[in-house]
Amino acid sequence: MARSRQTNDNLWTLITAPTIWALHFLASYVVAAIHCAPNEDIFQPIVETRIMVGVITAIALVLIGLVLWRSFGEWRRHGGGYRHNEDTDIDRERFLEFSTVLLAALSFIGVVFVGLPALLVVDCR
């Protein structure tokens, strides 16, 4: 196992994907708020806002995808498996990698969910 080329997983790498989710959420909310909060012309189509949310969503999905790809690959290269209750470095590493995979998958779904309103809502009503 070429451990040197692998990331040493820790609590920060564990929460990277959900942090991207949170930033995506915040950015989408701010973009919409800047356009719609003055609440003046609510029937005006908000094409640019929707495109911007779409772009933010795409970036977030790519980033989370990278996290997913990395952690999944490393988990597989460390032998995969769903039991990581041994008192060894490798088990701790595999546990963190697999948990990262799960969190990244959840974050991916979360970003897709949050991006959907931009597909469906056309103005500031």
């Binding site: 820790n10 609590l11 564990l14 929460i15 959900p18 942090t19 989710w21 949170a22 959420f25 989408s28 909310y29 919409a32 708020a33 800047i34 719609c36 909060a37 003055p38 609440n39 003046e40 609510i42 908000i46 806002t49 929707r50 769903y82 990581h84 209750n85 008192d87 470095d89 088990d91 701790r92 546990f95 963190l96 697999f98 948990s99 799960l102 969190l103 959840l106 974050s107 779904i109 979360g110 969910f113 949050v114 959907l116 309103p117 931009a118 469906l120 809502v121 500031c124 009503r125």
Partner: protein, 849 residues
């Protein structure tokens, strides 16, 4: 890592070994002894403080429960006049407030303070006095808020205190909202203190060998929930500040006539309020995660999936806040984001329920009272979760908003997701606290009364809500179809309350004749069950080496080795309280930490700080200032005599051939982490104020309003330069001091004090000199509040540097022993960030606009 160290091979039965062991135990007992007589109240040990904390929050729960029953009596029949309308408002406001702020959140902290050290095989948490301080704050603030109802002065604006109802004297005269705001702000101090303590405890005080993948799931939940508190409570503190400034000094944050907006309060409140639901729910589910394996007689399935659920819920729950605000007229696209996140959070929440079911399915379930309450919890919570999925959809919510449907939903979630698991935990863990088991028979009777009573009481509320009964109404007319559901709800509530009373009776009844429970009475596998019966105040006999998730099941001879003191720190040769600090990832021993013992200082500091908040409530300004000075002095005295103590020798032998340092500063020390974590919470509160600024920026076409000049560029830039100078002084002082140039370091600390004070003064001068009047418009008020926040923090930073200077002269801060300046330098990193954002916001962004 010395986890491979073999156990000494002697049998431990020779007379010599026996004498050594007795000597060790006597010393440990003496060192960890609970103070006697009136000095008992100076205890800081987690066993005492945790139990006071738990008992106090249960007492508040019973008090709030009585208020709930009063609500139900009033609503039992139409046109009732059991309570007056005003008093009814106070009763339901206090019911919600006390249940949430004085029971649901504190009970998490309380139970974690009791259990976490035991689960981690630690003697105590790293900052026992901080826990005690938090407890006294909680008690004082809680009594203050709850007591107000006996004077007819309780808050009456609902537990979320929406302005303008609560900000304007003509709607809510009296001190009610001030009591709510200041009393609860004070309690939030306690919550954040507990969060700091629990995060550092989980990360740094695990037993040797307990890697992240071997941590008990309870500890994972504690870590996540304490982290959530750090990001959830500060926005509410920021909201409280804005709210009080409006009430006391008429600064117009929520007054639309002067540019304010009441919706901002709703944002800040629910950025706190929605994560709070999960802050309440996750720790209770954590108890389930400990109980289920014990009674399924097998390890929990899907450890990683539980970590996913805990961490995932922790994050997603922050994207839900506006689902309480669907009816405020936010644009549909924003509602969509919140609705989507609210649906997504059902995934991790559901995952943990499935993990529990799968574990029970594949195990051999032993029937018991704790399991009965766990099954009840799962059933009730699932119903609450399903209605949650319904109200998370904006169109449905527009129909159900502010009706009894929501009341039904939230009680199903909280009672199923929190109260039932908590009672399961009480029955499960009582033998650790009271040395005896609670009664199986009474437990079963209590369960069925509670389960039937709860469903009878709260299920009809779905119907009364759908029929159209609004929340918070004092009474309702007959003949709308509401009579029967309301009567059933009242009957159910009383049956439910009878169940609770039986539990209270079971806990309080004298059990003198009943034999002690056997040790590890449920045959569990985790470390907390190492506790002797009756319990010892030393926490753990020796700090064990952990290699599995369930050491009592999976490590042979574990309990014997532990009892015979064959692990670390089996003795207290120097007669000091000690525990072990380990590394975050793998639990490798790093330091032998001396923890402080009993003191009344924490109580004194809490009383004085409480006085600040209480005196401010009644506008006794001079007395408030005196109390503020006194509380600051008390905290300094506490720190001076109790923290960063220089040990009599640099390191000590902790047993098994391992020698560890007794003192450590910088990122490896617990104090550094505590400062780091505190500053994250502090930074979140600051960013919430900045959020307010940009919130007003987005809702106003012109911000600053036309014709108003900002604080200009000159003075803010001067102040920024001075503050950054102080930051540099603090950082260089740390390095220079460490390099041994004590004189230069002292000069830098003194210069830092001067620069900081000058910077703070220049910052305050900027809006003052420009003539910004905070009462006129929300723009001026927001600039002022950000300036005051930063100036106050600079003043605290100056005080810290002065403290380091004094410590250096007193010989308590040296080039080797430098925790104080190391932590203060860290504070100044955050301070520099705060200063930059402040100046960028108030001086630079209006120009850009």
């Amino acid at each position: 890592m010395s986890d491979a160290t073999p156990m000494p091979e002697d049998t431990g039965r020779s007379p010599d070994a026996e004498a050594v062991r007795r000597g060790q135990e006597e010393r440990l007992e003496k060192v960890w002894e609970t103070p006697k007589g009136w000095r008992y109240w100076s205890a800081v040990n987690n066993t005492e403080v945790g139990i006071w904390y738990t008992a106090t929050s249960f007492a508040f729960m019973l008090f709030a429960g009585v208020l709930g029953l009063m609500v139900r009596v009033q609503l039992a029949v139409p046109e009732n006049d059991f309570l007056t309308a005003t008093f009814y408002n106070q009763v339901f406001t206090l019911h919600g407030t006390v249940m949430m702020f004085l029971f649901a959140v504190p009970i998490f902290e309380a139970v974690a303070i009791v259990l976490l050290p035991q689960m981690l095989g630690a003697r105590d948490l790293p900052f026992p006095r901080l826990s005690a301080f938090g407890y006294w704050c909680f008690l004082i603030g809680g009594v203050f808020v709850s007591g107000s109802i006996f004077f007819g002065a309780a808050p009456e604006g609902g537990w979320f205190m929406y302005p303008p109802l609560t900000t304007q004297e003509r709607f809510t005269p009296g001190y009610g909202p001030d009591i709510w705001l200041l009393g609860l702000s004070f309690i939030e101090v306690a919550s954040i203190a507990a969060a700091v303590e629990l995060i550092v405890g989980t990360l740094k005080c695990r037993p040797p060998g307990m890697r992240l993948n071997l941590m008990p799931l309870y500890a994972w939940y504690v870590l996540v929930v304490a982290g959530m508190i750090l990001f959830a409570f500060p926005p509410l503190i920021a909201g409280d500040i804005l709210f009080e400034l409006e009430r006391l000094f008429h600064w117009p944050f929520f007054d639309p006539e002067r540019g304010g907006d009441p919706v901002l309060w709703q944002h800040l409140f629910w950025i706190f309020g929605h994560p709070e639901v999960y802050i309440v729910f996750l720790p209770a589910i954590a108890l389930v995660a400990m109980i289920v394996p014990t009674f399924a007689r097998r390890p929990l399935l899907g450890y990683s999936w539980i970590v996913l659920a805990a961490v995932g819920t922790g994050f997603l729950s922050f994207g839900l806040w506006a689902h309480h605000m669907y009816a405020t007229g936010l644009p549909a696209i924003s509602l969509g984001f919140f609705s989507a996140a609210s649906e997504a959070v059902a995934i991790p929440t559901g995952v943990q329920i499935f993990v529990f079911i799968a574990t029970l399915w594949t195990g051999r379930v032993v029937h018991s009272v704790p399991m009965l309450f766990v099954s009840g919890a799962l059933a009730v919570f699932v119903i609450g979760g399903l209605t949650g999925v319904m109200v998370a959809l904006a169109p449905f919510d527009w129909q159900a908003h502010d009706t009894y449907f929501v009341v039904a939903h939230l009680h199903y979630v909280l009672i199923g997701g929190m109260l039932f698991p908590l009672v399961a935990g009480v029955y499960y863990y009582w033998p650790l606290v009271g040395s005896r088991r609670l009664s199986d028979r009474l437990g079963r009777i209590a369960f069925w009364l509670m389960f039937v009573g709860f469903n009878l009481g709260f299920f009809p509320m779905h119907l009364s809500g759908l029929i159209g009964m609004p929340r918070r109404v004092w009474t309702y007319p007959a003949g709308l179809g509401l009579d029967l559901p309301n009567l059933l709800s009242t009957v159910g509530a009383f049956i439910f309350a009878t169940g609770i009373l039986i539990i209270v009776f079971d806990i309080l009844r004298p059990k003198g004749k009943q034999p002690y429970a056997e040790r590890n009475t449920w045959q569990a596998g985790t470390l907390e069950w190492l506790a002797e019966v009756p319990g010892k105040s030393w926490g753990v006999r020796s700090i064990p080496i952990v290699k599995t998730r369930y050491p009592l099941w999976e490590q042979p001879n574990f309990m014997r080795d532990y009892d015979e003191g064959r692990f670390y720190l089996a003795d207290a040769q120097e007669m000091k309280r000690e525990t072990m600090v380990t590394s975050v990832l793998d639990g490798e021993p790093v330091q032998c930490l001396r923890v402080p013992g009993p003191t009344f200082m924490t109580m004194v500091a809490a009383i004085l700080l409480g006085a600040v908040f209480i005196l401010a409530t009644f506008h006794f300004w001079y007395a408030t200032i005196v109390a503020m000075v006194a509380s600051t002095i008390s905290i300094i005295v506490w720190l001076w005599h109790g923290t960063a103590m220089i040990p009599e020798k640099p390191e000590k032998d902790v047993g098994l051939g391992l020698t560890l340092p007794l003192y450590m500063s910088g990122p490896k020390s617990v104090g550094w982490w505590a400062m780091f974590i505190t500053m994250i919470g502090d930074g979140t509160a600051f960013l919430s104020l900045v959020f307010a600024y940009f919130f007003y920026f987005t809702i106003h076409p012109e911000f600053p309003p036309a014709g108003v000049d900002g604080p200009g560029l000159f003075w803010p830039m001067v102040s920024l330069a001075l503050m950054l100078g102080a930051w540099a002084a603090a950082g260089i002082a740390l390095r220079v001091n460490r390099a041994g140039s004590v004189g230069i370091a002292r000069a830098l600390m003194a210069a830092g004090v001067a620069l900081a004070l000058a910077g703070g003064a220049a910052l305050v001068w900027a809006p003052f000199g420009a003539g910004l009047d905070p009462v006129v418009h929300v723009y001026q008020a927001t600039v002022w509040v950000i300036v005051i926040w930063t100036a106050a923090h600079v003043a605290v930073g100056a005080l810290m540097l002065a403290y380091c200077l004094a410590r250096s002269f007193a010989g308590k801060l040296t080039p080797v022993y430098d925790i104080d300046i190391s932590n203060v330098a860290l504070y100044w990193h955050f301070m520099a960030g705060t200063a930059l954002i402040t100046v960028a916001t108030i001086a630079l962004s209006p120009l850009a606009a």
